[in-house]
């Protein structure tokens, strides 16, 4: 894009700041956090810690990519945490039972896509609000998971199954996945018809229909895509530790939704970027780690996240009111 193309009055810098404001705020927050906490406790900046911050939370960032698309399309999914648990359990079980590794990876992902496509179909054609449908799905998945596993953990998984622990070029594969998927998703959203129709459907469904977009198909597609990202996140979650517990981290879906919202995706739909949600997921991971290094109870993390959600949504509302 050439600079001359912009109309006079607003500089490219102003435009950049207004277009990526939220991402810049999150990025600066991460930098500030590193600077401050690093100064207080230099061990915060150690290789081990930085690795654990990024690699240990990459699956959250990846799930947040799919969640961002869902929210941009004007929907929400509160079942994604439970889905990640189910995916991890299926993958681990297949691996332990001696199925080929490629099947242990791909079958759960296909399962996740299928489940979410079904949710999307229900949401698109019955017009039941997605929060209701996914709340139902949350119960089904959680109940099913605990009944099937009887609360047992999966251990002794084959080493070649543990994809998250691999380190191509010395960097954990989870980080590679996070970076690559964020870039691919960002390009997809900007440069494909389907990507743009996600924004269109979330911004104004009737307008989208009038512009020749099929909103139902778009919603189903977005849910299926979200299933793909949740599936990949689930595999990384399954393989980052030596055990798979039958419980996922509590409130995982909330953390994922929060990452999307703080990354600049409006809860009202129609706007946002996946770069923002990935940065926000990294920011949470940093905050969680920083609390430990500053000897603050980790329970404060939840409270901090809550405050950030409220502040972000408030900022979004204020901005919208000003735009009116």
């Amino acid at each position: 894009m050439s600079g001359a193309a912009f109309s006079p009055g607003r500089s490219n810098l102003q435009r950049f700041l207004s277009g990526y404001g939220q991402e810049i705020v999150v990025l600066l927050s991460i930098a500030a956090l590193f600077a401050v906490v690093g100064a207080v406790n230099p061990r915060f900046l150690s290789d081990t810690n930085i690795n654990s911050i990024f690699a240990g939370n990459a699956y959250i960032a990846i799930a947040a990519i799919g969640m961002s698309m869902i929210i941009m399309a004007g929907h929400i999914d509160v079942s994604v945490g439970a889905l990640i648990g189910v995916i991890a359990t299926i993958a681990g079980t297949l691996a332990v039972k001696g199925y080929p590794i490629w099947m242990a990876w791909s079958v759960p992902i296909i399962f996740a896509i299928a489940v979410n496509a079904a949710v999307g179909t229900l949401v698109a054609y019955t017009r039941i609000p997605s929060i209701v449908v996914t709340l139902g799905m949350l119960s089904i998945l959680k109940g099913g998971l605990i009944s099937a596993t009887q609360g047992e953990w999966i251990t002794n998984m084959p080493a070649e199954f543990m994809i998250a622990q691999m380190r191509p070029f010395g960097i954990p594969s989870a980080v590679w996945f996070m970076v690559a998927l964020t870039i691919i998703a960002a390009l997809f959203l900007r440069y494909t018809d389907f990507g743009r129709s996600i924004y269109a459907v979330g911004g104004n469904m009737e307008a989208a229909r009038a512009a020749g977009i099929n909103p139902e198909r778009t919603v189903i597609g977005v849910f299926a895509l979200h299933g793909l990202f949740a599936g990949i996140a689930g595999i990384l979650f399954a393989t980052q530790l030596q055990v798979i517990q039958s419980t996922v981290p509590p409130n995982l879906e909330l953390t994922i939704i929060t990452a999307s919202v703080i990354g600049g995706v409006s809860i009202l739909g129609g706007t946002g970027t996946v770069i923002g949600s990935t940065l926000a997921a990294i920011l949470f991971a940093c905050i969680g780690s920083a609390l430990i290094f500053l000897n603050v109870s980790a329970y404060w993390l939840r409270a901090v996240l809550g405050l950030m959600i409220l502040a972000t949504v408030l900022a979004d509302m204020v901005r919208r009111r000003r735009d009116k």
Partner: protein, 515 residues
């Protein structure tokens, strides 16, 4: 002459960009459009008129591919077609500028113009550079090169959004452009600009279906006019062959010999008096008297301070200077609640936002302004609420299934009657009406006007704000003209002519002259 004859006479040798033959459509067993024929010639503006519910919307939705007809034929360039979706209609060169502008607030101007048909690179991905260049070209062709193509649409005015929709139609290479009440939400300057754009498009050979209630626009722009009534074709004529009364009688199926009801009785005592009232610098030095039984018209352009004056009287933006007297006694009105207790009611301009809770029922809406009166002990008296609503439905002639029908299902005119009923249930003595008939059809308009006259006849004092000059002149016993936040003219009924009022309305005043 019938529409098809006119069409045939002109179509010799020229393929029509769209022609409808004997189109019928019913919903749930109710026939909405009944065997209607309609055609468009290249480079003509064809007005489509009719009361709400006459079938205009259904007919244009059929042309736009949103509905499929039950019977009849659609021809494009002489070939029979069927549109299964809006996309197929677009492909056939038919585009629509919707009344509720269908845009994506969070996307840029350029993208709004091209969404659904974005230019592609060799890789099949969206070519942003080409899209932005072509968007700029299109806007320049529409004399709207001042629009910033990279701006998000959420920041733009209604007039600008409409130009984007028109640009979108051009981007589709539309040969037929359907404009559904394009001026309903526009300010006067934007109306003029729109009309010049329409003329420009006509010169390019685009056929424009122009749906509007506004007679002056029809006579200024249209070449032909087709009128629908109750789903049937009431007639199609070249515009030079018709005048306003003819069109109105075609629309309502009876001749309205008097468009505006005559005054009954005489004015009573002064009930409301403003003496040098101001709100900050928005409205200044407002002085006038309003009498019982009088309809006082407040004319002026959008932004001249009419609504602001009303809001000050109603206590939304309390007066910062001057005095308001009710029955000759100074009154302090610091909130709408106080205004209501003093017997003032305000029917706002923006029904959807300020006047009604649309998903709620008629009775709930009417009860809303009167909860205190309708409450017994701790609870709202449901029987009383329903009785009140039934009374209002009868008194105002609201066409509804019953008090429990949600308001959003009613037509614009009937919604306006519910707003009126709601405020009249507070038993006001002073009624302020802001654009009482904006966006409603001729028949409902006449009913509202009759109602206003009846209320005045019963002793109500009415302050009416209207942007439609004919309405101001037809309804008002006296006319006040506002300009730049001040009252700049006052006319008796005999002296209030379109020229006199219009001149004062549009003159640009310097501070000295205005004071």
């Amino acid at each position: 002459m019938r529409a098809d004859e006119i069409g045939a006479a002109a179509a010799v040798g020229a393929a029509l960009p769209i022609e409808l033959r004997g189109i019928s459509k019913s919903f749930a067993g109710i026939t909405v459009v009944n065997s209607v024929s309609f055609d468009m010639r290249p480079g003509e503006v064809h007005a489509l008129m009719g009361e709400n519910g006459a079938g205009k919307s259904t007919l244009i939705k059929i042309m736009a591919g949103l509905y499929q007809p039950d019977a009849g034929e659609i021809l494009v360039n002489g070939n029979a077609v069927r549109f299964a979706s809006p996309k197929e209609a677009h492909a056939a060169g038919i585009a629509t500028v919707h009344q509720e502008l269908l845009l994506f607030p969070e996307l840029t101007v350029a993208e709004n113009i091209f969404l659904g048909q974005t230019p592609k690179t060799a890789l099949g991905t969206i070519d942003w550079t080409a899209m932005r260049r072509r968007a700029r070209q299109l806007l320049e062709e529409l004399d709207s090169g001042d629009l910033d193509i990279d701006q998000k649409v959420v920041h733009l005015s209604v007039g600008n959004r409409q130009r984007i929709e028109i640009a979108r139609a051009l981007a589709q290479d539309a040969r037929v452009l359907i404009m559904d009440e394009p001026t309903a939400a526009l300010a006067e300057q934007d109306v003029q600009r729109l009309m010049s754009i329409v003329r420009r498009l006509r010169k390019r050979g685009v056929a424009i279906v122009y749906v509007s209630h506004r007679m002056p626009e029809i006579f200024a722009l249209a070449d032909r006019v087709t009128v629908l009534r109750d789903g049937n074709l009431a007639g199609a004529k070249p515009v030079p062959e018709v005048d306003e009364p003819t069109l109105v009688s075609m629309m309502v199926g009876r001749s309205i010999d008097r468009l505006y009801p005559a005054k009954q009785g005489k004015d009573g005592d002064t009930i409301l008096e403003l003496a040098g009232v101001a709100h900050r610098s928005v409205v200044q030095d407002i002085s006038f008297k309003l009498h019982r039984g009088e309809i006082l018209g407040l004319a002026g352009l959008v932004g001249s301070g009419r609504t602001e004056t009303a809001l000050t009287i109603f206590g939304v933006t309390p007066a910062t200077a001057g005095q308001i007297l009710i029955d000759g006694k100074p009154a302090i009105i610091a909130s709408p609640g106080q205004a209501r207790d003093l017997g003032i009611a305000y029917v706002p301009e923006d029904r959807a936002h300020q006047g009604l809770i649309r998903p709620q029922t008629i009775e709930d809406n009417i009860a809303l302004a009167n909860l205190r009166r309708l409450t017994r002990g701790l609870f709202v008296d449901a029987a009383k609420v329903a009785a009140e609503a039934r009374g209002a439905i009868a008194r105002f002639g609201i066409r509804a299934r019953g008090p429990e029908q949600p308001v959003r299902q009613l037509s614009g005119g009937n919604q306006q009657k519910v707003v009126l009923a709601k405020w009249l249930a507070t038993n006001p003595r002073i009624l302020i009406m802001d654009e009482p008939t904006r966006g409603i059809d001729v028949g409902a308009k006449a009913e509202i006007h009759q109602l206003m006259r009846k209320l005045a006849g019963e002793g109500m004092a009415i302050l009416m704000i209207s942007s439609e000059l004919p309405e101001v002149l037809g309804m008002s016993d006296r006319v006040l003209v506002m300009n730049g936040g001040r009252i700049v003219g006052q006319f008796d009924k005999e002296h209030a002519t379109a020229e006199a009022v219009g001149t004062v309305m549009t003159r640009s005043y310097t501070r000295e002259q205005a004071a």
